[in-house]
Amino acid sequence: MEILSYAFVQRALLAGMLISIISSVIGIYLIYRGLSFMSAGISHAVFGGLAIGYLLGINITLTSLLFTLLIIWIMPFIVRKSKLKQDIPIGIFYSSSMALGALLLSFHQGYTTDLFSFLFGSILSIKDEDLIITLIFTVILTIFFLRNYWKIIFMIFDQETAEASGINVFKLEGAVLTLTGIAVVLISKLVGIILSSALIIIPAATLVPYIKDMRKLIVYTIFLNLMCIISGLILSYYFNLPTGSTIVIIATLVFLISLFK
């Protein structure tokens, strides 16, 4: 277990734990809310925000966060105006923010290492400050979900009745989606845009059909998430593979195997 003695591996493990908690909770929420495409969509928006930051020469984490939240917040109004089911306008918007990102980046010349780590991630080169921010966010997210657990459950179960009984569904869902936006940006920063939406959806999707107890579902999903990350880390270390892709492929294999169990 020499692998554990490296500081960067320890950081990666800690990051893996935090990411597992964040992405499992949000993934389960999105799946039961029928919003699983949101995570892929939001990660596209992150890309648009990155490009804006590059072009303006300011902090790209900040611009991707602002751009992502902007899109999340205006989406309900666009959905209402369009009178379509919400996945359609969201799909349109997110592909266009991807296009916008690519367009803006074509104007940018020079150094883009940050960009590549944002896209494909490198869980093995995590900075302390990112880790601390993610840790703080994990605490906030956990407190939020614990405090609002039954309200959120009620909203998912029967939105109309929840609203009739005084739950402000618009605000509550807005809060959860805002947290989702921040989560996707943070996770993308740590492990890359592509891995972020995969980790949010795949482990949750693997277990949702089988576990008939919410608390167990949350715990098991976190565990599965972490297992995918750790085994991905180990395999990529020993076989010299790209870590992010290895993790996604493992998660996908587990999902496929679960279908035939």
């Binding site: 179960f157 609203e163 005084g166 949702v208 107890d213």
Partner: protein
Amino acid sequence: MNRIVEINNLYYSYNNDFVLENINLEILEGEFWGIIGPNGAGKSTLLKIIVGILKPQKGSIKVFNKEIKYLKDEKKLIGYVPQKPNIEKYLPLKVTEIVALGRRIVNDWKKLSSHDREIIQKLMEELEIEDLANKIYGELSGGQQQKVLIARALAQQPKLLILDEPTIGVDMKTQSKFYSLLRKLKKARISIILVSHDIGIISKEVDKLACLNSKLYLHGCPKDIKIHTALKEVYGEDFLLLTHEEEE
């Protein structure tokens, strides 16, 4: 007596045409109202306005003597069973947990007390769903699901109970238990609004009857109003052919 619901000159439209026009209605504490009318008459729409899910374009509506948009904690006192709830069936939520949601609302989402558990237990026994306690909602039959939703609304111990065709798919035995439960609630001075197509039951159970078809055609005590004339007006001339005439 306390006014629980007060509707004045209310209009509602989804797109352009008004589906509710010039509705005026006053519901007092402890009154049991039945609302009848043909499909598309606007019954469910009216209930959704009363619970605050839809906002009327014109007119005013007060619940518990407050404009509906200013209701806050009072909303916990409204129990609602929608006609076609859009439920996430596969949420792994046990029947007891669903019924308990009703208690959690009133308790400001604090932990359940033993008093809460008693209320839940008793309701589940009364509606004969105690054997289903540990089942998931999606694994229940249609009628069983409906009973769970009714139990959840009753668990709030509401002051105003709004029921949109609650006994659809519920067997006769449970229906009669349900109506005797409603009679008990009425004695406890709870106001009830019940939409149903079962005119026989409605005219037997309720204190006040409203016949709705976009407009409110007639309302009053079922004994006092000429129910057949009203129904004919709302449902059209063919109506008499469809009723059991000896029932009157």
